[in-house]
Assembly symmetry: C2
Homo-oligomer: 892 residues x 2
């Protein structure tokens, strides 16, 4: 016979902590506390398997569940004394859900179950407190009706409020036994009215109603959404915990509270918590009464002149402190506890690993490792790499008021304040004049880069998490809120408005790129701290990991940031970002507008010294580390002007007619630029561009090597390769230029030529392409676009709905689609290694900074990941997790 | 020791016909003719392996080649009498290239090699004809200089012309021995002048010069281009044939000619050919003298009153006829022969399978099968499926004059004449008024469909072989010339011009979609004949093939054509093509502009009866055959107007503001529509569209079944699936609608729901997707786009160059990229069959009509291919080839 019900009681339990999957987190920990000899009110857990069976049988419970439950209830009666439903000595129970992971949106708790018109009298008699008994009864009716019967609690609250008004009462404590008796009657009549039948008096009907409600709540929309968001499988199910009630509200030697074994905000190694005397658990969290501090120390710290638990109930406090120590030692982690004191006796109602801020997590992990409570590897695994993001950017002071005027997507973390500007040029001008600005655009384009660089923050009305603004901002580490759809931006009037509210150029706003919020005025920020515990933990992580971490960077600033954050090289330098510079865009356009090779070569000759200097700076900053430079990637039309006015100014600058500029622009226009004349296709048709870039790279490498004394081995990367023949052809050009430069300068140097693997065909043909390639860098942004047939820029129209409806578990541009795109990465890596076992393999898409994706890269045996500078620490930690076998899977 | 040289002589030879790869076509057949006892001048073949070695050794011949050649030359001397380079009895030889496949662009022939200032005297003495000897010598100097030394033949011709003028001669025959002696001297001095050294007198230097020239010509640009175009691998190499000269120009008992064992234009089973008395081979083809007919029959047919070979040299004619019969029997194919008669003796210089027109090929194959010369299977394999295209469309009368004004790409075969119109509306209006028109556009868009349907032919100035115009035109079987780049089209003036020449609306032009030509005026056409030999052969092909052939069709016209051409169902009905119809586009736009589901439903309700009728017509026409209907695929913005004027008229029709229409259009605009909100993504966000379409399909199926008495089992196809969850969700909608319709109408029916596999991810996840899918249709157009990351619409910018430079062997949108995209198709098929062995698999991209791709589909075990109606016969034949193991590979 399947064991569906697990009892726990004094000193012993059927279950234990390791049975979390079967008993849920709460049930397993209640059992464990019993086994540890801690004071836990007896009870039992109905397993998660019952929940699964319940859904398989369309809402029917398995046959044996009832008998096992009644047997367990009898056990509780024996331990506690009293009897469930007995009118003289009634046993009351709580019914709580308990999934493997705590999960809002599910039925949480019904307290005081077992009360009815008769048992309430028994409770009153035995407690000698009719007020307590009827207060408990009305609470039960309200809770049960709300969560089991689906009657909104407003009905009860409203009627209580009217009653209090009619009586001139202010507080619930003003009501006496008679009042609660009346309220109970009123509440029951509300139920009868809404349900067409009376409130259930049969305590077993109450019990099964509550149990079924817990199972039923597993499929509420909120619970489903939560699971979706937190990657919890639907088939995990929830357990139900039924436990004898203990009362913190039976008088002044009663109390209830919550405690953390260490401070969950700061990580300080001191007991921290709140409690209330003469209250039930719900009162602590409900905010009606302000809870007291548990310790004297925190009471004093918070200037609270009310008694602490330490002062008011020193024995219970001592016992609680001892239990905290015991539980933390036992679980090797900071615990979050619930307790109740009934008539001077301490009861433990829950323990679990406590949630904490990123800062606290870091401190607790490092402290515990130094206390030898956990190993360094465990400390590393305790920190969610993604959480570091909070620590690496300025953040808003959590205590400051926020006048939120709009919300959008949290496109690039960090907070920033500044004057509103509406154009990249204004952003640059004002910044140069010493003013902090936030660049506000409907959406950004590559021509806004200089303004994006200048601005302290970026705000757009359109575009998703992977829009131009978002990607570039994350790359720069600049805070960005994108897709703030309620904003109406009027460039002409230089205003942005939300509803009736209009802000104009020069007004100060603050954006919180981690929360996606836009606020009026300046909200104070806090700055990140990269030393101390952070540095300690990152040092441990670096020692543990196998994969290298590089950064995607092209400007000296980005490169310096990357190096500061611990990058071990540059995995992707996008040369085109340098093309938009005001100084050189004219030469770039000259090159594009040239009608023949000679014209292009003349324009390229002007670009050569500038590109050479770009690379020279990068090589110097990254001295001793590898730098991968990608040849020109975007379609040429991206560099051309798009308005008539701009056409004319470009035409004037180039000495050609505006008509000619417009004609060429039109000629280059593409239906699907993403799938157009770009990447290595440019080098195939215009080899002279690749030639110029190769020359700039090699000449810069020689110069930087001479200056730093550390020889540069540049890695030249060919983008968008689909066939070996493309790479062969372009490699021949690069090799020829290398030969020429070596001859001209009389210097020998090494270099590598490799290719991006960012098209399905490249992954499929990796065995062939690897023959020509010294390295592969998986460009998972484009690979995701082509494998899914989804354009990042257009995906916002439907991708959100896809994730919401559960068609996709995640945005595949944020976290690599391991099932699909991952197959191609694995295939590419395997086929390449088959023909060239030592080929260097890396990844340089946005996924290079995503922990789950990094974990996959580790499993696939890639040599490095490359990500935006601000995500380098995250990647270092995620790579350590991967090496320690604790990689972030989606269903952790 | 490697055998590099293969001799052939009287009655026996070292080689044979099967050694084509080693000896080249010409060499192998010369050997074979010797073995058959036919009169062949002795000689030897230097193998293709020598050519390969020559390139591997950078232009050096292997060591033993020289000694083996000299030995073979000695053998020839023994057989012929005379000696190579001997001043008294010189042996003269021809040197000819001979690859496996005949290949223009290579060095063809040097005749009379072995002549120098001394041997010419010997030749004169032995032949007793000094004029012949010196004429031969000057011919040799000219030929050798042209093909070996690279001196353009104009130099020689010009000097001969001056000489003739100075002497008052009209014809070459006016020159006597003295004249030719002088000319020889002049020619030699031209060489000495150009080369800085005298014409080589050493016969061995001549021989090796010619042999090296043959090998060198393998890599001339023209040869390389030809190989590229005809898919001949670069490493095949060419052989060199050295053969004793025989002379057709030693007097009136000498002749030379070419013959076909059957008529290569019509296929008639009668000897056919031309000859000249007292001439060398080059004279027959050079066009200086008009050759005579070989047979009396053809002489009479062509009203030629000059003698035939049959009449002039009856014995030689009889011998030739006997040899023809023998060779045709031996090779089981129509032969193309070269012969020379020297002093009354017939010599065979070449035999090979003769080239023929598609019409002749068909007749010859069917005749030979009926003569039992070959089997029916062989007859099937003899016909290149692609060649049927010529037979299925009207073609221009080959004898009519053509005033070609521009050329473009042969986008859709067939010829058509009509008045020029510049808009789809004009095309429709004029056609309705009974006028044939050619629609001339810069490029076409989906909004031109009605005009494209109406027009007899389509001409565009832009867009490649897979542009909108090309794809749609091929689908409709309408002739189309695309990318006629020299055309300047002025919509406002309603003119098109090429250089100075201006044509205006209403002028008549003719286009030849098979040749890519645009002609002024009307050129007479011929109509296709689908009966007779065609029908016979197609019957045999149908019996032989395994794969089914369906058609891509949506209009009743197309469906009827498809059925006429033997389609066994519809593999792809693109429902969106019906949306552009003038009657319904307004409702479509209403649906798109609707701001909520209710609005969309209201508009969809108007579309329902129209869609239902579309499907009803299709089901009726295809009664008894399967019909696959794809749900709406393109992004919605494709249906919206794009100009202000159109916006306004749409707004007026819909009763909304033009601003609103423009705003919605703008909102729907996409950066990369190909990768945007389309395909099943539309059904995910707007399930009500799929609902309407499913209802229209099911209601139509019931109605058509009732009318025809043949129950319809509709196949509903979901496009652009990337994940199983998408298909699950949409299948649930379709199943629900099916249930509803069955309940409403009280009728049960069967139907299938399947998915397009047109994204790499779908192929990768085929095992999962197949669980929900009753069938897969590989959409290789989109699959090629996404696998390569190349947009069909933009590819014309670089794809041509890719094929030219050899980076790609073919346009992958025309012939499936088996190495890359093919992997995904194979993977998709295998993974699907692993979970569902009986899943129906087909292909419905453009590749479904390409023989090489069809062959691949056969190997992959697909159940059917689906192609445009006009390609159905081609697909039927190609499927038969595939089944017979003779599929069109790229390197056939």
């Amino acid at each position: 016979m399947t064991k569906w019900v697990y009892a726990f009681g004094e000193v012993k339990a059927d279950g234990k902590a390791e049975m979390r999957e079967l008993l849920g987190g709460k049930g397993a920990n209640l059992a464990e506390m019993c086994n540890l000899g801690l004071p836990v009110p007896p009870g039992f857990t109905i397993t998660t398997e019952v929940c699964t069976a319940y859904y398989e049988n369309k809402g029917e419970l398995p046959a044996d569940v009832e008998s096992q439950t009644l047997e367990a209830m009898a056990g509780v009666e024996t331990l506690v004394g009293g009897k469930f439903g007995d009118k003289d000595d009634p046993l009351l129970v709580s019914v709580r859900s308990g999934a493997r992971a705590s999960m809002p949106g599910m039925m949480d708790t019904v307290l005081n179950l077992g009360l009815n018109d008769q048992t309430v009298e028994g409770l009153a008699a035995r407690s000698g407190d009719a007020r307590f008994a009827f207060d408990s009864y009305r609470r039960f009716v309200q809770m049960y009706s709300d969560v089991v019967l689906g009657i909104a609690h407003e009905h009860f609250e409203n009627s209580l409020e009217s009653y209090k008004e009619s009586k001139g009462f202010n507080l619930d404590t003003d009501l006496g036994a008679e009042d609660w008796m009346k309220m109970t009657e009123t509440f029951k009549s509300i139920v009868a009215d809404k349900m067409g039948k009376p409130f259930p008096q049969d305590v077993h009907e109450q019990l099964w109603g509550a149990i079924n409600a817990v199972f039923g709540s597993w499929e509420t929309p909120r619970a489903i959404t939560y699971r979706r968001l937190h990657d919890i499988p639907d088939d995990w199910g929830t357990a139900v915990n039924v436990q004898a009630m203990v009362f913190g509200n039976m008088g002044d030697n009663c109390a209830t509270g919550v405690a953390f074994t260490r401070n969950p905000s700061t990580g300080d190694n001191r007991l921290y918590g709140e409690f209330l005397i003469n209250a039930q658990g719900e009162d602590v969290v409900a905010g009606i009464r302000t809870p007291h501090a548990i310790t004297e120390a925190s009471r004093i710290e918070s200037n609270d002149d009310r008694y602490s638990l330490e002062a008011a109930m020193p024995d219970n406090y001592q016992e609680l402190q001892a239990i905290c120590d015991k539980l933390e030692q036992h679980y090797s982690d900071m615990q979050d506890l619930e307790f109740t004191i009934q008539n001077g006796k301490l009861w433990m109602l829950q323990t679990r690993n406590g949630k904490r801020t990123a800062e606290a997590a870091l401190k607790i992990a490092v402290d515990m490792a130094e206390e030898k409570l956990i190993s360094r590897d465990e400390a590393i695994l305790r920190i969610d790499p993604a959480s570091l993001d909070q620590l690496l950017h300025p953040t808003l002071d959590p205590d400051a008021a926020r006048d939120v005027i709009a919300t959008g997507l949290p496109a690039s973390p960090g907070a920033a304040s500044g004057e509103i500007v509406f154009s990249a040029n204004d952003a640059e001008a004002k910044t140069n004049a010493g003013t902090d600005v936030i660049l506000v655009r409907v959406e950004t384009s590559p021509e806004d880069i200089h303004g994006m660089h200048a601005a302290k923050g970026i705000l757009t009305a359109r575009g998703g998490m992977t829009s131009h603004a978002a990607v570039v901002a994350r790359g720069m580490g600049t805070p960005c809120v994108s897709a703030a759809g309620s904003l109406r931006i009027d460039y002409a009037a230089k205003t942005m408005s939300v509803g009736e509210r209009v802000l104009k150029e020069g007004d100060i706003i603050t954006i919180d790129g981690a929360a996606g919020q836009v606020m009026a005025g300046k909200v104070p920020t806090r700055h990140p701290e990269l030393s101390g515990d952070f540095a300690t933990l990152m040092g441990w992580a670096d020692a543990a990991r196998v994969m290298k971490v590089r950064a995607n960077a092209e400007t000296p600033d980005d490169a310096a940031t990357a190096r500061k954050f611990g990058a071990e090289g540059i995995g992707l330098c996008r040369t085109e970002h340098m093309f938009f510079d005001a100084e050189r865009i004219t030469s770039v356009r000259e090159m594009i507008l040239a009608r023949d090779e000679a014209g292009r070569r003349a324009a390229l000759a002007k670009l050569l010294p500038m590109q050479k200097d770009d690379f020279f700076q990068l090589f110097k900053i990254m001295a001793g580390l590898p730098v991968t430079i990608r040849l020109l990637d975007p379609p040429l039309h991206e560099f051309l002007p798009h308005s008539d006015a701009e056409n004319e100014s470009v035409a004037a600058a180039l000495g050609v007619s505006a008509v000619e500029v417009a004609a060429r622009t039109n000629e280059l226009k593409e239906f699907n630029p993403m799938l157009g004349h770009r990447g290595c296709r440019l080098a195939v048709t215009y080899p002279e561009i690749a030639e110029m870039q190769a020359r700039a790279i090699f000449e810069a490498a020689i110069a930087a090597g001479a200056e730093t004394g550390q020889q540069v081995v540049p890695e030249v990367m060919v983008p968008l390769v689909a066939t070996k023949a493309e790479l062969d052809m372009i490699k021949a050009v690069i090799d020829r230029v290398a030969e020429e430069v070596q001859t001209e300068q009389g210097v020998k140097f090494d270099y590598l030529v490799g290719s991006m693997i960012e098209l399905p065909r490249a992954a499929l043909m990796a065995g062939e392409i690897a023959q020509t390639s010294a390295f592969f860098s998986f460009g998972t942004n484009d690979l995701t676009q082509t494998t899914f047939g989804v354009s990042r820029d257009d995906a916002s129209r439907f991708l959100g709905e896809y994730v919401e409806k559960g068609i996709l578990p995640n945005d595949p541009f944020v976290s690599l689609d391991i099932a699909g795109v991952g197959q191609l990465v694995r295939m590419g890596a395997e086929r390449a290694r088959d023909v060239k076992p030592k080929i260097k393999l890396g990844i340089c898409g946005e996924h290079g900074g995503d922990p789950a994706s990094i974990s996959f890269c580790g499993e696939t045996g890639l040599d490095y990941v490359s990500c935006s500078p601000f995500r380098v620490p995250i990647a270092r930690l995620a790579a350590a997790h991967s090496a320690l076998g604790g990689g972030e899977s989606r269903t952790a």
